[in-house]
């Protein structure tokens, strides 16, 4: 059997699944060693996936298509998982806290598992139709997904915040193992700012591209509109925090609503609404 990139990516799915289970066990059982193993497994999975993405790029050249692996639903889901893991690993490295992994790696695992195992998601490498043959494709998809992945992590942090703040004795047991509320709040805010910047760049590169391909930088296409809705939600969160001094729980709720909007922008629009972004739809 010929091993191709999608096989390696299916194996990566199991590696990430293992990492997620390890992180959760580390959190629940407070076993330090499990945490180290979890990080190691995540890094291995990340390297494997990086290789697979590079290999897939090479494969597309061999097929005579020659494009970055960012062109359809399968590839974008896989890329989403990759960026989410990257953003998480940076946060782990900077905060030295592994527990966030229990809330971040499941998002990546879910995305790549859905891509690999849902029969409706086509994992073939496909050629690019004329509208997609643009360098803006790269800039647009990479920046959007940096934003989406940051928002996924911010959503994970928000869930952690709510679990901890709802607990009757937040400093004991499982909830005690979570980082302090102040740190969670702070990280959540930072990640939202980071994601918001990338979402803005993603929307802008998208409109530059649309202007070149269709002659209109904004046409209220459902995908465009939903990305704007997402942008409004996070803009609300930032203003509420800066000007009204909202902290913690309220921002956490906005962060979760924001991520639901991200998911709808990403999936809901493809499945339920028609528009210019139909390339990303399942087949």
């Amino acid at each position: 059997m010929n091993i191709d990139s999608s096989h390696i990516l299916s194996i990566t799915t199991f590696v990430y699944m293992a990492a997620a289970i390890l992180y959760i066990s580390y959190w629940v059982f407070k076993a330090k060693r499990l945490g180290i193993v979890a990080t190691t497994v995540t890094v291995i999975g990340f390297l494997m996936q990086t290789f697979a993405l590079g290999y897939r790029w090479y494969e597309s050249y061999k097929l005579g298509y020659g494009h970055a692996p960012l062109s359809n639903l399968y590839e974008s889901l896989v890329f989403f998982a990759w960026v989410t893991i990257a953003v998480y690993l940076v946060i782990e490295w900077r905060t030295k806290s592994r527990i966030i992994g229990a809330f971040a790696t499941p998002f990546a695992t879910f995305a790549i598992a859905y891509a690999s195992f849902n029969p409706n998601v086509n994992s073939q490498i496909e050629p690019l139709v004329p509208a997609l043959q643009s360098n803006w494709l790269l800039a647009h998809v990479i920046t959007c997904f940096l934003g989406y992945a940051s928002f996924a992590v911010a959503c994970g942090l928000a869930i952690m915040y709510l679990i901890k703040s709802k607990s009757p004795n937040p400093d004991e047991g499982i909830t005690g193992a979570l980082p302090s509320l102040k740190m969670l709040d702070d990280l959540m805010h930072q990640t939202i700012i980071f994601g918001f910047l990338w979402l803005s760049i993603g929307i802008i590169t998208g409109s530059i591209w649309a202007n070149r391909a269709w002659g209109s930088y904004w046409s209220w296409d459902p995908k465009e509109t939903w990305s704007l809705i997402t942008w409004f939600i996070y803009a609300t969160a930032l203003h509420a925090r800066f000007v009204k001094g909202w902290r913690g729980k309220r921002i956490a709720i906005l962060s979760i609503i924001g991520f639901c909007s991200v998911i709808f922008t990403y999936f809901g629009v493809n499945y339920l609404l028609a528009g210019l972004h139909s390339y990303a739809a399942p087949q």
């Binding site: 298509y65 391909a213 209109s216 409004f232 609300t236």
Partner: protein, 451 residues
Amino acid sequence: MVTQDQNHSKSNPVIRFFSSVRLAIFLLITLAITSIIGTVLPQQEPLQFYERYGPNLFKIIKALHLYDTYHSWWYVTLLVLFAINLVVCTFKRLPITLRLYKRDNLDISLDKLKHMRILKQVILPKNISTEQVISEFKEAVGGSISEKPLKNGKIVLSEKGKWSYWGLYILHGSILVIFAGALVGILLGFKGSVTLLEGEATNHCIQDVTGKPIPLGFTIKCNKFTLSYYRNGTPKDYRSDLSIIDHGRVVIHKVLRVNHPITYKGITIYQASYQAIPRITIKIVASDGQQKILQVPAFERITWPQEHVALGIMRYLPDVHGVPAAQLWWADDSGQPPVAIWLLQGEQRELRRTNNIYRLSLLGVTERYMTGLEVKKDPGVWLVWIGCSLLLAGFLIVFWASHRRIWLWVGEENGKKIAILAGTANKNKLRFERDFETLSEKISYFSGGEK
């Protein structure tokens, strides 16, 4: 963080309404929610289309212009309110920003300096001159320097990034610039389409919404249209070989492709679509012994005068089980009504009429292409791009550029010569602490000094 709602009592109620952050948050949330409508309900369809939603919903859709949500009076009103709110909020903050910007940061008491969170204090050897320490500090710290005597010594201040307080105005202003760009496009621009058969030329386009012809000021000619496919049948490339002719002279001769528009005299031309226009060859054998080979182009009525037959193409399918097929209409003088008949290449069909039996066969098809071009003039688009760049620049300044101040006081206290180094930054505090540490290492007498 200073809130914007401080001087409530002073302002009039209109300004108070528009400057409230509550309105800003209300508008952001309302825009987010109402924007959903146009993504769920199909937009810009003919009004009859919406009757399927039932009489009650239809009334609502019609009254609130939900068939074109984003151009409806109430949505545009929300956007205008948003813009006004942005302007008023931002201007109302101006005094606070000016105060922060103009504040004399050198005007600080020694006591306050000693209570700073980031601080280093050392006792200097007696033989060190004040100027020596200060000049070493100036060299290491950079930024804009000011100094003055304070108590029994001298205080020096280095400031950097004071301008970052203006980032907020760049960020909020950028949205207004984008709005302005969009407005210029709406008022002074147009969007239309052009369809050209190979060999055809035109000097106007058909405006998208109104359907009115708009003169272009030059002529577009399509010399040739070609398309290519990948091996699996996915379209790979659409190319229109175009000539732009101005005052009888060919000024541009170029191949237009998707993602590679051509601009001339402020008008940009995009490859949008294409259509294959067939021209079929048929052979007709009549039972009275007459026969004829006819060329039938699409959209044309072809006659065979001897037999009093007229025919034309109704539908054309380029690929039915690997061969082309065409549906023809057929009229003759048999007294019977005209009929439609499908022809498949390679199969003979019989058409029985009262006066004759005709055997028809489709001999072949040649295709001509018609290219579909999108034509656009948008003099506001560069404003939109400037706005987008300002938005990102403003965002980076607001969140990452910090105003940092570092003070050095050298003087005598209780008979000892001491130096105090203190600093503060309004953003990126962790990084500032590291920078502060590096700075203190650079100045002798501070390196390794007590905190």
